[in-house]
């Protein structure tokens, strides 16, 4: 009988002499029990493909919560749009570059709402739900689910108040279930945007399977906050099967989905904090989609086999906002000086490598939005003017904090360019790099002195965008810089309540000009929507919220 050692030697000899191939060699080695370490070393990364029925997305973070009412990060929202369906949806068309994009000019198309009727001069909406829509848990969608979901918003005093407010639904009395499949909404004022808002996966527009959720309420927790933080109960295409914060969300297709079979049976949404690693994994084929790559990384992918990049100009923007109610920014001249001092061209060229989709928004709303003023007197950079304004304001040497999130590496580069550039006009900028949680807290509590934010107004409407970011009161969720100007804000509110589109847009433009004069944001940079994917992934569509809808995607 041959000893083990002899067997091993013979095997290695065969391999070295080319009589057996590597695979066989490894197989036999492992039979001998010696291959394990070597097999690991020799394993070739290029073969690490994802399974064909599973889509793997590499994201900078996992969601902080699965509860749509508390979603705040883009990752949170991505959960909402992939799991929860809404009354309506955007019409998807193919643009000049061959990208699938939402048609912003078409009216919203039915989704959970089969049809709707508007009466009483735009004050009354009667919505007929689609029948036979079933959740992952097998419960059928009824008007009760809609009512309960909205009740939850009011009960929790949560984020959904904002979109509902935009839709003029301001109290629990505004809506009721008329029958099993009919919901009736009565507004104080006419509102043209209701069904458009309801196309967007924002809190207040997503509907919970109340039958299931109610199983998880408790005395101290009547709205099942605890359970919904880590679970989904939706009528949408996907269901969050498991959620390991900091690691991954695993989605499975809802087998009862009313639109039939989804493109993927299973989706893994992995947290890969470093964009460099996401890039690497995408190149290796270990993930199918890499979210939030920085421009440099996207550029390095050019010509890489098996990888494609979808780029849409879109509405996504990077904002540099200063807190208008905190010294030294209470003085308009200081804000203007900062705007004059910012190195916009350098940022575009250095951070974004002059990418054609990156451009300065000349106003407080994205350039495709109605109400866009297309005027921005503060560029090109003018250091003398900036210093002059500062000394006029008696603030020739100021210092303040600039907060940014760890999520986007490019924001750190922008922050450094801003710091150097403002240093030249006599402003000392202290950089505050914050983890998502701390960043959000600063943002929510309006504590940041100045902050870099990446965001987009989901509803393509000037008045909506202006209200979101600069509106009065707490309904204006995005007014984290505490902008106050009664004149401008009155105009915004007037525009918001105007149903006639031309008139509405004129008012929005007027408000925008006010805001430009006040410079609450010294910089608003359109950065485009970009997604790097394996070429076998198809179906991606851009919508104004810049999020991936899993339902769009399939793997060829």
């Amino acid at each position: 009988m041959k000893t083990r050692k002899q067997a091993h030697e013979a095997l290695v000899r065969n391999f070295v002499q080319g009589r057996i191939d590597r695979r066989t060699f490894l197989g036999r080695l492992s039979a001998l029990g010696v291959a394990v370490p070597m097999a690991g070393l020799l394993e070739n990364v290029a073969h690490a493909q994802t399974p064909s029925d599973t889509l793997v997305i590499g994201a900078p973070a996992t969601p902080t919560t699965l509860d749509p009412e508390y979603s705040s990060s883009p990752q949170d929202r991505e959960v909402d749009c992939s799991t929860y369906d809404r009354f309506t949806q955007f019409k998807i068309v193919t643009d000049d570059n061959g990208n699938r994009v939402a048609d912003l000019s078409s009216p919203p198309e039915p989704l959970l709402a089969e049809s709707w009727e508007i009466s009483d001069g735009g004050r009354k909406y009667t919505i007929k739900l689609r029948e036979g829509v079933k959740s992952y848990f097998g419960n059928e969608l009824t008007a009760e689910d809609i009512v309960w979901s909205w009740d939850r918003v009011f009960g929790l005093d949560s984020q959904g108040l904002f979109p509902l407010g935009v839709a003029s639904i301001r109290s629990k009395e505004a809506y009721r279930a008329v029958s099993r499949y009919v919901v009736e909404i009565t507004l104080d004022v006419p509102n043209p945007l209701l069904m458009t808002v309801q196309a967007t996966p924002v809190p207040g527009a997503v509907f919970l399977d109340s039958t299931e959720v109610k199983r998880h309420v408790s005395e101290g927790d009547p709205w099942a906050r605890k359970w919904l933080a880590t679970n989904t109960a939706s009528f949408g295409p996907y269901h969050a099967m498991s959620f390991t914060p900091g690691q991954q969300v695993e989605y499975v297709a809802n087998p009862n989905y009313f639109r039939g079979k989804q493109g993927m049976a299973r989706v893994l949404y992995r947290e890969i904090p470093s964009s460099a690693t996401r890039l690497t994994l995408l190149k290796a084929g270990a993930i199918d989609i890499a979210e939030d790559l920085v421009t440099r990384e996207r550029r390095s992918l050019a010509g890489t086999e098996g990888v494609s990049i979808t780029s849409v100009k879109g509405n996504l923007g990077v904002i540099y906002g200063v807190n208008n109610s905190v010294e030294p920014f209470t003085d308009k001249r200081v804000r203007q000086a900062v705007a004059y001092g910012l190195p916009i061209d350098d940022i575009i060229n250095t951070v974004y490598f002059g990418d054609p989709s990156v451009r300065l928004f000349q106003g407080p709303v994205p350039d495709q939005y109605p109400g866009y003023p297309a005027s921005w007197p503060y560029q090109p950079r003018n250091a003398e003017k900036a210093m002059e304004l500062l000394s006029d304001a008696g603030q020739s040497s100021i210092s303040f904090d600039l907060s940014y999130s760890t999520i986007y590496p490019e924001h750190e580069q922008i922050a450094q360019l801003i710091r150097t550039s403002l240093g030249e006009i006599g402003a000392e900028v202290r950089l505050q790099k914050l983890t998502p949680a701390k960043y959000q807290e600063q943002y929510y509590s309006h504590k940041a002195q100045s902050v870099i934010v990446q965001d987009a107004p989901f509803v393509v409407d000037g008045a909506y965008a202006e209200f979101l970011f600069f509106g009065p009161g707490k309904g204006a969720v995005g007014n984290w810089i505490d902008y106050v100007n009664p004149e401008a804000q009155d105009t915004i509110m007037q525009a918001l309540g105007t149903a006639d589109l031309d008139e509405r847009n004129d008012l929005a433009t007027a408000a925008a000009r006010h805001i430009v004069e006040d410079v609450p944001w010294p910089m608003y940079l359109g950065i485009g929507f970009h997604m790097a994917m394996r070429t076998n992934v198809t179906g991606l569509a851009w919508r104004p919220h810049n999020l991936v809808h899993l339902v769009d995607l399939q793997k060829g």
Partner: protein
């Protein structure tokens, strides 16, 4: 057991260092958890905002503060925390919205697997090298001492990055430096050690994937944290080989292998302590390497918790690390009594 037997047993227990540790552990635990608790609560920032979201009114925030007990005096909060702790409840993480205990149960095995693998590498590679260095001449001594200084000077996270650059980016030998296993290959949870779970599930592909992921981070840790162990072993071993009783044994004409075994047996104890301490130390010290390799273990969790001021998670990780240290010291104490004939109780 008669009385004197019992007394002796009590003395035996007391002389086990770990029992003294245990006795000290409770006040220690209380002290540490209180310190962490107070320090973190003193930090700026109000977690209620995170819970409430941007639209919440002042009343909602107040209500959430009440809910979380944040409105109470710090010692009341602490008492509540300790009360929950006694019931195994470590609170809920702000960042992950999960019970901290559950988070730890997922992450601790990941770290344990990694550092156990690193310790195995140390034992299998470095301990023989240490013995060789002790037997070898001046050059071997210098080499190993040089290695000790070098390894002690390298930042572990940077070394990990360099290894990734070399073996993954450049040579393409190593698997993707992210996480513990290829996506979709995770074996059913049994021990939490993916390699072992894969073997239990008889899934060789999963095992290979998990094992290959262990190599780079494991080697990084072993290379850097094994150096003191090696150095220590070389010192005690060369001491042992030159000890008078060994010389005597030579004079008596005992076989070399037997003499060597005597020397080794005595020399191995201090490095064993060192290895044990390294093991405990790595639970926390692996944090950086875990972050580099996105290991998703305990250390990375601690980093995340700390930099996001996730106070429940921080308290939980600190307590878990202390508990773990205690267990390892217990095992070490027991191992001594077996190995070291001088330790008699």
């Amino acid at each position: 057991m008669n009385r004197s037997g019992f007394t002796r047993f009590v003395f035996f227990l007391w002389r086990l260092y770990v029992i003294r540790r245990l006795v000290l552990f409770v006040p220690l635990l209380v002290g540490v958890s209180f310190a962490v608790f107070v320090l973190i609560r003193m930090a700026p920032g109000n977690p209620a905002y995170l819970f409430a979201g941007p639209t919440a009114s002042e009343e909602t925030i107040k209500a959430i503060e009440r809910d979380l007990g944040l409105d109470q005096a710090i010692w009341v909060q602490y008492a509540r925390y300790m009360q929950n702790l006694a019931g195994g409840d470590l609170g809920v993480s702000l960042v992950t919205s999960q019970p901290v205990l559950q988070d730890l149960v997922v992450r601790f095995p990941a770290t344990l697997e990694l550092i156990t693998f690193a310790m195995l590498l140390i034992v299998v590679i470095l301990i023989p090298l240490g013995v060789l260095a002790a037997i070898g001449g001046n050059l071997a001594g210098r080499l190993s001492s040089g290695y000790g200084f070098l390894a002690g000077s390298l930042p572990d996270f940077w070394w990990g990055l360099m290894l990734i650059f070399l073996f993954y980016t450049w040579l393409g030998w190593a698997p993707v430096p992210l996480g513990r296993i290829d996506f979709g290959l995770e074996p059913a949870y049994r021990t939490g050690f993916l390699t072992i779970d894969a073997l239990l599930a008889n899934d060789l592909t999963a095992f290979r994937s998990a094992f290959s992921r262990l190599l780079l981070p494991g080697f990084t840790l072993a290379f850097i944290f094994g150096a003191p162990v090696l150095k220590h072993l070389r010192a005690t071993m060369s001491d042992g080989l030159h000890a008078p009783y060994i010389q005597y044994a030579h004079l008596c004409g005992l076989p070399r292998s037997l003499i060597f075994r005597y020397a080794f047996r005595n020399a191995i104890i201090p490095p064993m302590t060192m290895a044990g301490m390294t093991y405990v130390y790595l639970v926390g010290a692996a944090a950086l390497v875990e972050s580099v390799f996105a290991w998703g273990g305990f250390g990375q969790y601690a980093v995340q918790a700390a930099i996001s001021s996730d106070y429940m998670a921080v308290s939980g990780t600190v307590l878990a690390a202390m508990l773990f240290a205690l267990c390892v010291y217990l095992i070490l104490d027991l191992v001594y009594t077996v190995i070291d004939p001088r330790v008699r109780y």
